[in-house]
């Protein structure tokens, strides 16, 4: 049953997102592309691009993956799956259940998991690069995007549009 599968996997992904949504992008890729084969690597790259273009959390990527897998109901189920449990935890935290959050084990787990999830983001860069880096042009696009994001207040939307337009315009000239 595809909807149940979507819900369960996205719920699992959400529970491993120590450090926020960006932390589980690689796990999202692993599950939705390699293990479950819901979407192709190209779809995944586009999904992440869309997540940067749209407002709100990066994990809204789930709506795209859900839609590609099972249409509108898939989008809805994946989105609910990826936000429900973290939301529940935060509301419980708001309800004075703080002593559980301050438990040294949970704190320690968070401390150790944070560097690992950041390192795992590197895998996503490799995966995106394997798909995108055909020729120096795309290295330049990535480098410019990096510099603009780090050192200017340029909107990510504009950076992504710039990269897309440059790829569409100059890409065909390079490959052939």
């Amino acid at each position: 049953m595809i909807l149940l599968e979507l819900f369960v996997y996205f719920a699992i992904i959400s529970m491993l997102a120590f450090g926020g949504g960006n932390a589980v992008i690689s796990l999202l890729e692993r599950i939705s592309v390699e293990e479950m084969r819901w979407i192709t690597p190209q779809d995944f790259a586009v999904a992440i691009g869309f997540a940067y273009i749209t407002p709100g959390p990066v994990l809204i990527t789930s709506a795209f993956i859900g839609y590609r897998t099972a249409g509108f109901s898939g989008a809805l189920v994946a989105t609910v799956g990826v936000f429900l449990i973290p939301w529940l935890l935060s509301v419980l935290a708001s309800h004075q259940v703080r002593r559980y959050i301050e438990h040294p084990w949970l704190q320690g787990f968070g401390l150790g998991a944070a560097p690992a999830v950041i390192g795992l983001l590197g895998i996503t860069v490799f995966i995106l690069g394997r798909y995108a880096f055909f020729g120096w042009l795309y290295w330049v696009v990535a480098g410019v995007a990096l510099v603009l994001t780090l050192f200017t207040k340029a909107s990510p939307v504009l950076i992504l549009i710039g990269g897309t337009v440059l790829g569409a315009w100059a890409g065909p000239l390079l490959i052939d």
Binding site: P57, W87, S90, G112, A132
Partner: protein, 197 residues
């Protein structure tokens, strides 16, 4: 502030929150702390502190936490749905368009998508740097990050196991991942490490 007003405010925040958590926080500050004065800045900081160690999207958790503060469970539910609605609809429209466009353009769309992907990779490297600065403060943390990346790329180890293993390492030796508290660090003589800024 009633629940309808609360929902409408979070729809507005959800529409404008390009760039995720940072923008979300500044919008909450503007609408709920400054304009409506239903929350104190302290509440926003508190919501971040207590959701920091919880897994999941921090933006949604901050909204849920503060929504609960403002209107109990109904407030938490409505605020979060309102906050996510614009993003969800936006993504749905893009998904539908994408299906239409790739069907029509097929291979000719590849260079454009590669350009988009390359830009995403660049932004992601910047995000890694920003996340790493506060989270990786010790040598052990740095080693764990490098090991996690290497294990995933070279050996294809499942990220879930890597996160679990690192978390258990954190439980066993938390002091290796957290720098000494700033109380001590700030008092130590400032010229011991030539401050570069």
């Amino acid at each position: 502030m009633n629940l309808a007003q609360l929902s409408w405010l979070f729809v507005k925040i959800g529409c404008a929150a390009f760039g995720g958590l940072g923008v979300t926080l500044s919008l909450i500050d503007r609408y709920l702390v400054k304009d409506q004065a239903v929350l104190a800045a302290r509440d926003v900081t508190e919501s971040l502190t207590y959701t920091k160690f919880l897994p999941g999207s921090t933006g949604v958790q901050v909204v849920g936490y503060l929504g609960c503060r403002l209107g109990g469970w109904p407030g938490a539910a409505l605020a979060t749905i309102a906050y996510l609605l614009p993003a969800f609809l936006f993504m749905l429209v893009l998904s539908i368009l994408y299906e239409e466009v790739t069907g029509l353009l097929a291979d000719s769309a590849a260079p454009a998508l590669r350009g988009l992907t390359a830009a995403v990779a660049g932004i992601l490297v910047a995000t890694i740097y920003r996340l790493a600065k506060p989270a990786i403060t010790t040598l052990t943390g740095g080693l764990v990050a490098v090991a996690a990346c290497a294990l995933g790329v070279v050996h294809g180890v499942n990220p879930a196991w890597i996160v679990l293993a690192a978390g258990i390492l954190g439980i066993l030796m938390p002091q290796r991942f957290a720098q000494e508290q700033s109380a001590g660090a700030k008092k130590s003589n400032p010229d011991s490490h030539g401050n570069k800024r």
